[in-house]
Amino acid sequence: MTAQVQARVDPDTARDLYSRMAVIRRFERLAYRAYERGDVHGTVHVSIGQEAVAVGVIGAMGEADTVLSHHRGHGHALAKGVDPGQLMAELCGRVDGVSRGKGGSMHSTDVANGFLGTMAVVGSAVPLAVGVALANKVKGIDSVCVAFFGDGAVNQGVLYESLNLAALWSLPVVFVCENNSYAITTSADESTAGEGVVARAKAFGVQAESIDGQDVIAVEETAARLISGARAGRPALIEALTYRFMGHSRGDPPHGVYRTKAELSEWTQRDPLTLLVDAAGLDPATVEALDAEAAAVAEAALAFAVQSPVPAEDELMRGVRA
């Protein structure tokens, strides 16, 4: 498989993929640290370990295509082109945040970049994507909408209602389930009966595939194929098998409570960044340079964020009837 993968990716593409994943990785690390320092508030869900899904799927999308996401959405935002500084400012509750500091980590939106928003109620972005796809169809616009969600959303009924609508109306929508095996402390096995979301989606008339979510090239290739199918009216679901390398949110340890150190380290050996390095044969110097660039982007983002002003009082009632 590695050989096959390697044959599929040219060095420029590999560098580009790596760089985009590395930016997410560094951004998330800093976001977590900023939370610990008190610059990010409330809670924070980082996607370290899952970068290949965001970068692979969104890399296969066109400019006019749109994304909806969930509580663990920083990676999707960055991959869709949201400015890291504006995103970090959002996490810090600053007025230069992409949502003026009103949404925070769980609700960043950047319409200009086709990043339509992240919903914090598990599963609730899914029907929105169906609606976006319906609107695109009504308007005759060639645009696919992709909804990201976790394995936890796989038992929300609205997902199946949405799959049904998408199939019934042949909508240009792709559902991406990032199966990282856990919803907070509850394992997918504990919560999901039967053969999983792929078999379920197929039973609703939606084509579906389960893929290795750590292999960015495989993700991108599958996504490209299914997104182009969706564009032609065949909605699809992708289950990307992945893992979160950190705890669920601030304060939750990466292992020790509901998952073992052994399991964690098995998965960290399948780090999407190193897998790509190996698959593409990126040399250490290149990797080091790309890592440094990524770190610089993340640092600049945080620097931008913390110098941005907090919203003034007159922001409070803006966008809502007083």
């Binding site: 319409v111 029907p127 169906v130 976006v132 209602e161 809502v320 009837r321």
Partner: protein
């Protein structure tokens, strides 16, 4: 606050449901981005508010949905987010609960949470109240709850014209609007002038009076006007203020009638505790405290799941007699 206007030439006689249908039609002709989503709406089932629209606008704009209220509401929110104007029809109040997460958590909040980047021009039409022995799950009201949700506009038309106006206005408004349609009104007859979307939906002074004010909305307006006739014969002149909108609420209009008559009866279709009457009473009490000659009275429904038996159901919701009695009590109140 608008006053009931003098008759004009283009008037037609029609029903509340037909007026809604006409509003859909007139708006859809002007705005090709309007699509309707609902169960059996091509057939216009059950109240006729979408009857025949599929013939003119086709199945791509008049879309029958499966019985999937959550996804349908979410789909409406998403479609609005992406720039079209969906109307989601929910036939009975009880079913709205299935779509509330999408309406309240997403529809009402997305503009604000996005820092004012997006708008959600979604219209939700929901049947409310009793229809006559449809029992508890089919005979509820949600006015107070919806009006409490920041980000939602909540309309409660009482007349044929108000129904038309509410929907026309909703269909040019850029934020989510819930039109609460009292099911007892669907077959009510009245005059309709079709035309442009109104600039604003506030309240209507259906009747002027000096003895006391009834402040109400939806079906309550019918009761209040009938009660006013009875009371006029007794020399009690009732002013009737109908709130076409509950959110925003015409606080100035309530204040004005309360200060004018100095006696206020709040008439609602839900139980007074935690119902619409409580809010009207609070506003009237605050705004007219210094001039009121009696406590603000509230009349609403009994706090009970709506029973099926007609003989019990008629005890639940306010009646003309109940309004007359409350008005007499208010009128005769001596401090």
């Amino acid at each position: 606050m608008t006053r009931v206007s003098a008759p004009t030439v283009q008037e037609v006689q029609t029903t509340f449901a037909e007026a809604l249908c006409a509003a859909h039609e007139d708006a859809m002709r002007l705005d090709p981005s309007i699509v309707l989503l609902g169960q059996d709406i091509r057939a216009g089932f059950p109240f006729g508010a979408t009857k025949g629209l599929v013939d003119e606008f086709g199945p791509d704009r008049v879309i029958n949905t499966p019985i999937s209220e959550a996804a349908t509401m979410g789909c409406g929110v998403g479609a609005a987010l992406a720039g079209i104007r969906p109307v989601v029809e929910v036939d009975f109040s009880g079913f709205l609960l299935l779509g509330l997460d999408q309406l309240v958590n997403n529809g009402a909040k997305l503009r604000y949470m996005s820092g004012d980047q997006v708008s959600i021009p979604l219209v939700v039409r929901v049947g409310q109240g009793p229809l006559g022995s449809f029992a508890a799950q089919h005979s509820q009201t949600q006015h107070a709850y919806l009006a409490a949700v920041p980000g939602l506009t909540v309309l409660a038309p009482a007349t044929v014209q108000a129904a038309y106006d509410a929907l026309r206005w909703a269909l040019v408004h850029d934020d989510p609007v819930v039109v609460l349609e009292d099911m007892r009104l669907y077959r009510q007859q009245g005059t309709l002038v079709r035309g442009l979307a109104p600039d604003d939906i506030t309240s209507t002074l259906h009747r002027e009076g000096t003895s006391l004010s009834v402040v109400t909305y939806g079906h309550g307006v019918i009761l209040a006007l009938q009660a006013a006739k009875v009371l006029a014969a007794e020399g009690i002149e009732v002013e009737v203020l109908g709130l076409n909108s509950l959110a925003p609420l015409d606080v100035a209009g309530i204040a004005s009638t309360a200060r004018h008559t100095r006696r206020v009866l709040c008439l609602a279709d839900d139980p007074p505790l935690f119902g619409v009457a409580a809010t009207i009473a609070m506003v009237a009490g605050t705004e007219a405290h210094d001039v009121l000659r009696a406590p603000v009275l509230s009349l609403g429904s009994r706090p009970v799941p709506t029973p099926y038996a007609p003989d019990l159901e008629r005890l639940v919701f306010p009646t003309v007699e109940g309004v007359v009695e409350a008005a007499r009590r208010l009128h005769g109140w001596e401090e």
